[in-house]
Symmetry: D2
Subunit: 259 residues, 4 copies
């Protein structure tokens, strides 16, 4: 049974819409409009317990999962949704020990999801041209405890990727077609290239450029996620839905002819 | 650079529709209608190379990824698609070291995907009531090299789950609502329950039963994947599409009130 | 060429978001925050012209189509979208001269669309249990000029439908399954029954009840509409989308065995 | 009550997959692998009756609706589905008395749907460059009884549209952008232009060209239709689905500035 330790980040849930990421510290209180919670008394308690605020309101104490961090990550710099991140993780073909190049880092949401999969022996090399993005991302990744598996750097990878033999490359940037040649060089043979792009013009350019290099299995998909309300006599898909986040293009590197 | 070793399973690609999973053995030939390939000459070559058959036709040599195994797994016993498997992996909140209970095992496609994520220290406990399914699954998992991270057993988990404090439980079975009580007991506090069901009646019953136990964040989604054809003046979603595989219901366990 | 006449309702378009339905009257001005428009000078002008407000801002003068009226109709009482209304019109199999029963009337949006199709010799019999709905609908239909083809009445059709040999029946009400028996009696042989329901429980009950009566070709569909942004290097489906409005169930009446 | 008359085309339904369009003639038999039906005895019977074949198998006698004709029309030359046709009919803003230009005619499926809406006083001018298409279409339209409301001609409308002041124009052709200028001239002010295109490149070209002419409310949508299986404990969207038929672009003509 996993017990809550001092210094842990926990996820306090009031209801579906109101959840809070909080650091557990002795002699500290977490204040909400529904009263405050004595964080110290959570130490050495199991995750999943229910705690009562000073106003008698119940809060659930959950262990933050990567999916929670992804959803809670600052959205200003990113448009990747869990539906896209999960598909990327599977399609990249990575696992513990894999090496992955990512650009741009954005808010670090995908970086954390990648790091969680490649740990403890793998590494995520994540690049962004924006110093501001990298700072935000660094803070998010630090808090998740996944920084040991991530190398963050400010770099414009349209000018080159400083790695070779990496297992996978994932791009979420404005001009991914400018990186195809560098990506081919950096990938190990049979390695996976992926690119996330909101517009079809980006997809067309990336696909054309992939076709100009030794890549096979070039394909593009998009994912639509529908939330379903399930309740007696009220079961139905929700009225509002995200209609589009982006297209996911993938390919695999092949190399020279065996004589 | 990863080199091909004797005994490796490789993935020979002729084109998008014709791909073959082959075991590399010295002094063995792989025969296709496009000629045969001397498998021995692949040993110590890098993945990603192109090899020519006796009839001069090129084949690509790829390293099988979990996603390839999932797609190539015998489809008779399963309806889970990559879109669903990837979402399950993220939503379960698992990573290296996690413990997961799965039922039913089916063809082992999801089992392999789970094992790939929890290795090297985690474990997938996978149950099925069908001996035939377990045999097929065992063969598939064995070939993927992931068996060290999997415990397969023939068991009807509607009668109980022989574990406690597991991080996650995923069900793909006809009557998941009969397992909710056992799932609650087997999960660690804050652990994730998921169920994949093709019909809405199953979703309604599972959701109702989850509501009768201390679970929070109960939600159901469905994923739709569209493949896009990208080619000059021919860019468009494909005509045929999988309209539905199943609904994914998830929830998290909470426990007693902290006094 | 159709000219604007005094008394016509016109549709003044400033931009995609700001459009106004206005009645043309001599010596009247239409005031907007972008200046006023002298409505009298539009008389005897062709539709489609551009008119300038007192502040020099251009407005387009369009002839209101049924689709515009549907979109502009008070939304408080209805959830039918153009995607649903258009599919209903085709599936009902109606045309000039057809007779249709509708319940409930709601805001009259569908009523107008039905009336536009069955005119000049057909008739829409539209029922609602709410006097308030009927008043709103009457006002909307009156303004569209389609009232000659509509009979509005306050009636609970779960107690019976006062017609026979109608070509089609369309229900948008909470308990459509209570009307199936009456609908069968009111329809002509080979006539079409349709029901629009937001929830799957309604669909299940309606389908079961249709199966208890001599109806064939019982089927249910749902329609998803995606808006696409088309602009240089920005072409993509819109982020926000209506994920669900309702399910459309249809069936056709059959009668006795020919001896 | 509508009675079956000699010469009527009827729609014989064995089950959901096996339906037949048959002309009723005295002293004629319709042969199926389930026995034959004496067509003469149907004369003066009401639509909707059940008739028994010589082998004792029941067939339902339905009156063909436009939607049935659309589905039964030779599919070789067309990709328009009911979901698209119905949306076109509503968006075009047409009704009894409207004039519409269509190109290409294809199999005549949309032509019939248009004719059914504009009759008895309106007209559909339908053009195709293929004599073979026009012949197929003529046969289909003739059989539906809608030919009085249709003018078919072999013509390449990229060279001009021989009409003016038409209410609406709908294009289903390879190069719709070559017709925009002609379409603008042929439309009445405030009239509706629509184009159905399978590829996004077509949509991009059409939209750009519309933007070069006095058109407003330029928009593109796509429709996805999901069929739902409704049966006790088996309710779910169908596995197979049409993922894409085409995009629908629409716009409205505006004219000169009113001084």
């Amino acid at each position: 049974m996993t017990l809550i330790k001092e210094g842990d980040e926990i996820y306090l849930v009031l209801d579906h819409r109101r959840t809070y990421k909080v650091k557990v510290e002795q002699d500290k209180q977490f204040h909400t409009h529904k009263g405050f919670i004595e964080l110290g008394k959570l130490i050495d308690q199991p995750y999943g317990i229910v705690v009562t605020s000073s106003l008698g309101v119940s809060f659930y104490v959950l262990k933050p999962l990567i999916r929670d961090r992804v959803l809670k990550t600052d959205r200003r710099t990113q448009v990747l949704y869990p539906k896209d991140i999960s598909y990327i993780l599977l399609q990249l073909g990575i696992g513990p020990g894999s090496s992955v190049v990512e650009a741009g880092t954005g808010s670090g949401a995908l970086t954390m999801a990648l790091a969680n999969v490649v740990r403890p022996d793998g590494k995520v090399y994540s690049y962004d041209i924006s110093e501001r993005h990298q700072k935000t991302a660094a803070k998010n990744i630090e808090r998740s405890g996944l920084m040991p598996y991530v190398d963050l750097d400010i770099l414009d990878i349209t000018e080159g990727i400083p790695h070779e033999d990496v297992d996978a490359i994932i791009l979420d940037m404005a001009t991914p077609w400018l990186v195809i040649e560098h990506a081919w060089k950096a990938l190990a043979g049979s390695g996976v290239f992926m690119s996330f792009s909101p517009t079809i013009e980006q997809v067309i350019k990336v696909t054309e450029e992939l076709g100009n290099h030794p890549f096979i299995e070039i394909e593009t998909v998009e994912l639509m996620l529908r939330e379903i309300t399930v309740a007696p006599n009220k079961t139905r898909p929700k009225t509002q839905m995200i209609g589009h986040s982006g297209y996911l293009t993938s390919a695999r590197k092949v190399t020279r002819l065996l004589e």
